[in-house]
Homo-oligomer: 333 residues x 2
Amino acid sequence: MRKIGKTVIFDKPPKIIGHAGVAGKKEGEGPLAKDFDMIFEDTTMGQQSYELAESAMLHDAIIRSLSNAGVAPSSVDFVLSGDLLNQCMGSAFALKDLEIPSIGLFGACSTMALSLSTGAMLVNGGASCVVCATSSHFCSSERQFRFPLEYGGQRPPTAQWTVTGAGSSVVSNEGRGTEIKAVQIGTITDLGITDANNMGAAMAPAAARTISSFLNDTGSSPEDYNLILTGDLGYTGSQLLYELLEKEHNIKLKGFHKDCGTLIFDLKKQDVNSGGSGCGCSASVLCSHILKQMDKGILKKVLFVATGALMSPTSSKQGNSIPGIAHAVLLER
Amino acid sequence: MRKIGKTVIFDKPPKIIGHAGVAGKKEGEGPLAKDFDMIFEDTTMGQQSYELAESAMLHDAIIRSLSNAGVAPSSVDFVLSGDLLNQCMGSAFALKDLEIPSIGLFGACSTMALSLSTGAMLVNGGASCVVCATSSHFCSSERQFRFPLEYGGQRPPTAQWTVTGAGSSVVSNEGRGTEIKAVQIGTITDLGITDANNMGAAMAPAAARTISSFLNDTGSSPEDYNLILTGDLGYTGSQLLYELLEKEHNIKLKGFHKDCGTLIFDLKKQDVNSGGSGCGCSASVLCSHILKQMDKGILKKVLFVATGALMSPTSSKQGNSIPGIAHAVLLER
């Protein structure tokens, strides 16, 4: 790897040789329905808890991505995965029967970009094949982070809807696929947001920092990309991102940007307030909709910036702020 | 990197150019007192919560390790850190003022070996300098995983005492220090243990798997090492490890092995039942006591195998088993 500023450039870019994004019923009723590799009508996945259902969904996405890549689990050097659940139990139970050496990650909703960035650096450093994956589930997340599902609490307009879904990508030096040309590991950014119902505001400053730093390091501007795709800022966070980039960095992002949280749902019809969120949001959108468009040549150059709100309910109850982070992955076909 | 079986061999080994292990009051009354870089008599660290106290301790260990290495935070490519707290809030709040790109990890008590393994692979792949760190705090862990502190519940003989401590190592291609010659990322192993008060039994099978696999891949046996050091199996887990290795792999470990959980406390005098545990256990012992002995040439070849019980209270309450994992790092001076 070669570094310019905080951006890691790959002269021999690792490739995404297989990918799969799966989703739940509500996501399957949204605008991206036709692109998901699988839509699960029964989001309990036949399991006894929502947490195990999330694991089953992640396991399914990993197996599909390996199958699409034509790679056996035994040929994988490492799987890099994490999730939102306490002690990342979603990943632990998804991975335990795969018998692949496991690097556990925690990046909250930024996990898909964190796993792709770290995985790409490991492949560039000599690993032959890694799996990068993550998941989230509306029912396991909501009851852990906010209120019991049965309570049915009212949600403010800035609130986002945790996506039930998972995504997985197989990254290798060999084979054909979208190239990972550069990555940037994000720096934790905290402007003091304390509202657990306004994740977009907590994450937008981190996204602005990573995007401006990446554009600066690579001497590029938004019009050089087919798409700059953020993880799950939602509608509110996206507006804040435009404002921050324009005021603080003189970068006009609008017109070149989409957000996975606003792509995955129909915000007007599906009652999801500011849009989708959760690790599974950017993971399922990237690993199905976006990478399929890249495979078809519809998109050629995408800067994927997944954002994470490093929110702990314990910390929020103690009155602390919510630090944000955003990692960037430059994808080219 | 070059792989033999599941073991990654570094032909140009990354070096630990700075390290620091810090600990709390009880740990400072134990056998390793003279080796810790700092002992905090007040384990609240002047903070308003035990969680923020853990962050302050981790922050302190990172700064000390950077200072020992003579490296400024701005020269660090990545910091790799994680902890036991929900959503790794210990690390998030420790790192947020350091302004270093952050790779969040989750490996439970195996985190020190996970961060060193992943960090060493990144340095071998071209990063110039990374920080590998982790922490735990008795008060933040016990109330999250088991009972409120005030309850004072009785502890069975197999229970371990979560260490209040943190450790940090600075890894680089340049400079002088203990070399990381090889690493092995562990595979999740689950023999069905469900008792949250018997972490040693949940982790011993993973330790046996990683140790036997590492010895097999490298064609070595226990007598080739000055020390095979496990993370925090404690007394109970260590006995199980000897039994598993002897019965299933015909490897006699006793005599060549120590465990950080039994080193850090005086098991007879300090009322800690089976010994110490927590990410901070192996981190503080390795980054102070062990690496200082290596710097002095007392130990020349150490196989460090930190073990993690991937236990979530949610999962345990749902009756699920506790998967284990163990990562290995070969250290040579």
